[in-house]
């Protein structure tokens, strides 16, 4: 892979803005709530702006790895600080920027333990940025863990519905995943004979087939837990329901992508033969996840559970795309990570707004909500349309790419997935109808609709969703620049 060093440490700035904000927050008092929010917003805003910049400034003709920064960190163990941007992580960095910025805005009204909330949220997002930009396995894993653990506290304190159970379940599941990832990563490290954690250098090594098979399956399951791969997904709907709004946004929107991105970036990249050996299984689990997520989602009466299970099925699409191992499939998978991230963030953001006021997420209780809060409802409905894969939305193109590739590679599973998605779309519309277009519940009539300021984060999300729905080429072209060399390396 060609490397182009950064003239200015853009990525480090993007990575360090949140921890810097966190550090400032430590010295603010709990009473200075406005200042706390502003500092968090600025920190998130800097990262957001820089993520847009890298997305736009990435030179597609030049290709390869750009904005590279590389410093030797611990020489004795071959650890380097190595960050860079290429076609497949630029969209995800952008996604993280969008979701954290809108996430801070969404939580503007939070009044309980504000300082601590933003401290943990900024810590979490640092980890997410770090994972997406790291090309050194040590840092990759370090950031991965940073992104996972603050969730425990975030759900525990600011969550709802069965939060104690959900927080512990989520953390233990994800850490059990880490328990598989560590030996997998270290197996590659020690059998390479290079004693380096540098992924690009490790990629050049031809690992023995058994090493690849073992390491791949360990990392696939380990990261797959976070990616919500069926049957390791059970923490995810529970966790999403329990988490506070912005954390659900971050979690479903970004964190689950860490898992699928890691499967692509580490597992598939370093163990191509292992991937080919396990590709059938990946395809099967992904297709099962799609069908399962759709049908279990249908039976839910809690709006957040509906979204939670839809996430399982949408992440199944990502998994299916990865499993095909074709250009279109991987392209679609990365695009779907982005599209689903924005969409789910919007979903949770909309539901969070409704829940904060009505304190219910039961579909039948909300009935006719669009007559009370037309704007808030519109946000949800837009997200639902996007989830159903309506043309003109980003996820349409992503799903199209994946499904076309999937039908070619796994015809039966692909058709099942398509059928499940069509049924899912039908029922999603029923959910929308029952929630928003029945008789309004008189209890909620007095609520006011979204103010322009609170609507802002949702508008940003919708803006990105539609922009990439209308101009999918900006995204697909970018992703392709890295997927094509990636496939050749497989």
């Amino acid at each position: 892979m060609t490397e182009h060093l950064a003239s200015f440490p853009v990525l480090s700035c993007m990575l360090l803005a949140p921890p810097l904000g966190l550090f400032i927050l430590l010295f603010l008092k709990e009473e200075q709530q406005f200042l706390i929010r502003v500092v968090s917003l600025i920190a998130a805003g800097i990262s957001f702006a820089l993520s847009i910049y890298t997305f736009a400034a990435y030179d597609q003709k030049l290709g390869g790895l750009q904005f590279v920064e590389k410093y030797e960190w611990v020489k004795t163990f071959g650890i380097t600080y190595y960050v860079g941007v290429e076609g497949m992580n630029a969209p995800l960095l952008l996604l993280t920027g969008i979701v954290i910025f809108t996430g801070v805005l969404t939580m503007w009204e939070l009044s309980e333990r504000v300082k601590e909330y933003f401290i943990f949220q900024l810590a979490l997002v640092t980890g997410v940025f770090g994972v997406f930009m790291s090309y050194d396995m040590f840092f990759f894993f370090l950031f991965y863990e940073i992104a996972v653990v603050p969730m425990y506290v975030l759900i525990l304190i600011w969550g709802s519905t069965r939060k104690i159970y959900a927080a512990m379940k989520l953390t233990l599941y994800l850490m059990a995943g880490s328990g598989l990832i560590i030996p997998g990563i270290l197996l590659l490290y020690s059998t390479s004979g290079l004693f380096t954690f540098d992924m690009v250098r490790l990629h050049a090594v031809q690992f023995a087939p058994w090493v690849q098979k073992v390491a791949f399956v360990m990392m696939y399951i380990g990261f797959g837990v976070l990616a919500g791969v069926w049957p390791f997904h059970t923490w995810s709907p529970v966790g999403h329901v329990a988490a506070p709004t912005a954390v659900s946004m971050l979690h479903a929107g970004v964190l689950m992508k860490l898992g699928s991105f890691a499967i692509l970036r580490v597992a598939m990249y370093l163990c191509p033969q292992g991937f080919q050996y396990w590709a059938q299984l990946m395809g099967l689990l992904a297709a099962t996840g799609i069908v399962y997520g759709v049908f279990v989602g249908l039976a839910q009466t809690d709006l957040k559970y509906v979204i939670g299970y839809s996430s399982v099925s949408h992440m199944g699409i990502v998994g299916l795309g990865l499993a095909t191992g074709t250009v279109d499939g991987l392209n679609g998978a990365v695009f779907q990570m982005f599209a689903h991230g924005v969409m789910t963030a919007l979903f949770f953001s909309a539901v969070g707004f409704i829940y904060d006021r009505t304190h219910t997420r039961e579909i039948h209780e909300l009935g006719g909500f669009s007559k009370i809060m037309p704007v808030a409802s519109a946000f949800f409905i837009t997200a639902a349309l996007c989830g159903a894969g309506v043309p003109g939305m980003a996820s349409f193109w992503a799903e199209l790419l994946v499904l076309v590739a999937a039908v070619k590679v796994f015809p039966v599973r692909g058709l099942f997935a398509i059928a499940a998605l069509v049924i899912g779309a039908l029922f999603a519309l029923r959910v929308v109808q029952n929630t928003f277009f029945n008789e309004p519940n008189p209890k909620f009539v007095h609520f006011e609709d979204v103010s322009p300021f609170l609507g802002l984060p949702r508008m940003i999300l919708i803006g990105f969703m539609i922009f990439f729905g209308i101009f999918p080429q900006t995204m697909v072209g970018l992703i392709k620049t890295s997927i094509i060399p990636f496939i050749q390396g497989l």
Binding site: I157, I164, M175, A176, S178, I182, L187
Partner: protein
């Protein structure tokens, strides 16, 4: 003879003398004694730091001063200083015993320091006993219920038994090699590879150190002593004493380098049992110190992973982890000390509402607990990953897998502490006011935990130089 070679030991010997004279006073001036002891311990840190790069041999080559020993001597001096920092309020020790408290901690440190430099079997044994005997006295020094007596007796008995094992093992080694000098023994150990006497002798000889580090099957004292001893004594046992014992274990296990398979396999088994047992039993503990005792057994298992590789990388990571463990464990004990000012045993539920009572302590607690659990960015995470890396490099795939699974198990009880401290309401408990030295200490410990976790290079390079001295 260059006096600086023996500098730290001489200093602490002098310090012990001063404290001894203080203990002869008829009327104990509590405050004054404390400040004298604290000031002297600051001097000790400076002295140990000054002598950090000394190198040489003393006493007919029975005593070797090198970077390896000096690093851990500095760590011991820092550990003693930290313990003295939280000893201002010795609620559980009778006032007339205060000078003795400082005195025996100092002699224990002295014994440990001598242990670190000893390269001759008898010197090792004598130094080990000097440090052990000081602790035998310190453990039951706590006033109140009988738990301290029980702990003291248990500690003495298990210590005596492990000493017995150790002497027995040493006699085998001596019998087989006709020398008490490690330098003479090392080349001869290679020939003993066919002979079980070598493996058995070495394993038995290690018993003394297993006891100190609380590795299975010499761990039984840990829970009772942790709970039964005064908080400050427990802190010392759990931090400085652990680090020094690990260092000694490293030096001694290096004898087994040529043994290869058998010896390492024995250690693998001990490591697996220690960490699994420690983590599983810790889950059901209600007393905070008792839980930490089991967690220390588990950590001993982790450290053993680095020891049993018998390679430079493993030694580096074990040294790094031992030093890291000192600080992360101390941070937790610091919180225990501040929350339980009257010196009582802290139950985990008593941490409830700490986030409200003292945000700073909560931060220290969470960082310490996360470091123990191996969550980044902390020295605990980096250390554990380095240990796993070196074990994997030596081909112990299953050991690493079991270690990683253990990490997940341990997270459950560590998170429970976070849950109590961070989630539950304080109820009627008042806010905790911290004095400024204590605040400073909190910040410093937090800074060290994160700073050296993210920038481990300096420590790793130092550990590398030190590891070269031993192997």
């Amino acid at each position: 003879m260059n006096l600086l070679l023996f500098g730290p030991e001489l200093y602490f010997l002098g310090m012990a003398l001063v404290l001894f004279f203080l203990s002869l006073q008829r009327q104990v001036k509590v405050e004054q004694t404390y400040y004298i002891a604290l000031l002297l311990s600051v001097g000790g840190v400076a002295m140990a730091g000054w002598c950090l790069f000394q190198e040489g041999e003393l006493f007919f080559k029975a005593y070797k001063v090198d970077l390896f020993s000096q690093i851990f001597k500095a760590a011991l001096a820092v550990g003693l200083f930290l313990v003295f920092m939280i000893s201002q309020n010795l609620a559980q020790v009778e006032e007339r015993c205060h000078p003795e408290f400082y005195l025996f901690l100092t002699t224990c440190t002295l014994g440990m320091m001598m242990l670190l430099s000893s390269v001759e079997l008898l010197t090792i044994y004598v130094s080990l006993e000097l440090s052990s005997y000081s602790l035998y006295i310190l453990v039951p020094l706590r006033r109140g219920d009988d738990i301290d007596t029980e702990a003291g007796i248990k500690y003495l008995f298990i210590g005596a038994v492990s000493s017995g094992f150790m002497l027995f093992g040493l006699s085998y080694i001596f019998g087989a090699t006709h020398s008490t000098y490690l330098a003479d023994i090392v080349p001869k150990m290679g020939q003993l590879i066919q002979n079980p006497i070598g493996v058995v002798g070495l394993l038995l000889a290690l018993a003394g150190f297993f006891f100190k580090v609380s590795i299975f099957p010499f761990h039984f004292w840990a829970p009772d002593v942790y709970q039964g001893a005064a908080n400050q004594v427990t802190t010392f046992i759990a931090t400085a004493s652990k680090a020094a014992a690990v260092a000694m274990l490293l030096r001694f296990a290096a004898l087994g380098t040529s043994f290869g398979y058998n010896f390492a396999q024995a250690l693998v088994i001990l490591s697996i049992i220690s960490m699994t047992l420690g983590n599983l039993v810790a889950i059901i503990q209600k007393d905070f110190k008792r839980m930490l005792a089991y967690s220390s057994i588990a950590h001993a298992g982790y450290i053993l992973m680095g020891v049993l590789t018998m390679q430079e990388a493993g030694y580096i990571s074990a040294i790094y982890y031992a030093l890291a463990y000192l600080f992360m464990n101390f941070s937790v004990f610091l919180v225990i000390h501040e929350v339980a000012r009257d010196g009582r045993d802290l139950k985990i539920p008593e941490l409830a509402g700490l986030w409200y009572r003292s945000p700073l302590l909560t931060m220290t607690l969470i960082l310490g607990i996360f470091a123990l659990a191996g969550v980044p960015p902390s020295i605990g995470f980096t250390g554990k990953l380095l240990l796993f890396t070196s074990a994997m490099n030596s081909g112990y795939f299953w050991l690493v897998l079991i270690g990683a699974v253990n990490g997940t198990i341990s997270l459950y009880f560590y998170l429970r502490v976070v849950y109590h401290a961070y989630f539950l309401d304080p109820g009627p408990r008042p806010k905790i006011q911290l004095s400024w030295p204590s605040r400073l200490l909190n910040y410093a410990v937090c800074g060290i935990i994160i700073g050296f976790g993210v920038f481990p290079d300096r420590i790793v390079e130092l550990a590398k130089l030190a590891a070269k001295m031993v192997l």
